[in-house]
């Protein structure tokens, strides 16, 4: 069901979706003062971290990586690694100090880098 060509694009669906869903759950948890939603948000962010790491590794062994120049690929890789680090911090803060100013900074930076990472990956396929 998942061909070797589309393995990385398939895996990379999960991290942005889980990151946005995790942050949305944290927002609703704050709004409704609901601890169950907060735990669910942190759970989503944890799985997002796992998905990001898998996406990073699958990208590094992607079958079409040799068809692109190093400079072209490095931009996307850099943003992906940065996104993974930010997701790690976001997941950590989601469990400990969920609504602190530092945590909000990581969440916002995560959203920005996620957007750039998605777009740079999109450019590799659709705007060669």
């Amino acid at each position: 069901m998942i061909s070797s060509v589309t393995f990385h694009p398939f895996i990379s669906h999960f991290s942005p979706a889980l990151f946005i869903a995790g942050l949305a759950l944290l927002f609703f948890a704050h709004k409704n003062n609901d601890d169950k939603l907060k735990a669910a948000g942190a759970f989503n962010l944890s799985l997002c971290l796992l998905a990001s790491v898998v996406a990073d590794f699958s990208g590094m062994v992607s079958v079409d990586i040799n068809l692109l120049t190093v400079v072209t690929v490095e931009g996307h890789q850099g943003y992906s690694f940065l996104f993974t680090i930010l997701v790690g911090f976001s997941a950590g803060y989601a469990y400990t100090n969920t609504y602190s100013r530092t945590a909000l900074g990581y969440y916002i930076a995560g959203i920005l880098i996620m957007g750039i990472c998605l777009f740079s990956g999109y450019q590799l396929v659709f705007m060669k």
């Binding site: 061909s3 990379s12 669906h13 869903a21 169950k36 669910a40 759970f43 989503n44």
Partner: protein, 140 residues
């Protein structure tokens, strides 16, 4: 119209990722009696369900801009078939979840989202092959 064909693969991440993860989390949560996983799964399924409609519309509009469809017609047909089946299955699942408050309604709901999860995997497979094998809306 080519704009829609190019934007579809970018926004499709959300329903795909949310629905597949949501189905897995919710079924896992229900089987293991894990409330946190079940809550996360239910939220992801519902969020992914509402993301399905704009993505379906954009994909449908983008389809009209495609030319020379002969070589990938089978894949496009399968992608469309599974996409519409996914929407149908998840609409049924949402109706069951909201209006069928019986013990077997819950089992039926879990079965339906499991089928929906399989359908979206097939949709994604055929969509991925269209882009990465046939270079649809991507430069050769």
């Amino acid at each position: 119209m080519i704009f829609f064909a190019k934007i579809h693969p970018l926004i499709v991440h959300f329903p795909m990722g949310l629905l597949i993860s949501g189905v897995v989390f919710e079924i896992y949560g229900a089987l293991r009696n894990d409330e946190v996983a079940e809550t996360a799964g239910r939220f992801n399924v519902q969020f992914g369900f509402w993301c399905l409609f704009p993505v379906l519309l954009v994909g449908f509009l983008g389809m009209f801009s495609l030319d020379n469809t002969e070589k990938f017609r089978d894949f496009l047909t399968s992608h469309l078939t599974y996409a519409f089946t996914t929407v149908g299955v998840f609409i049924t699942a949402m109706l069951v979840f909201n209006y069928l408050h019986r013990p077997w309604g819950r089992i039926l709901y879990l079965l339906l989202i499991a089928v929906g999860g399989i359908c979206i995997l097939f949709t994604g497979y055929f969509g991925g092959e269209l882009v990465h094998r046939f270079q649809v809306s991507a430069p050769e």
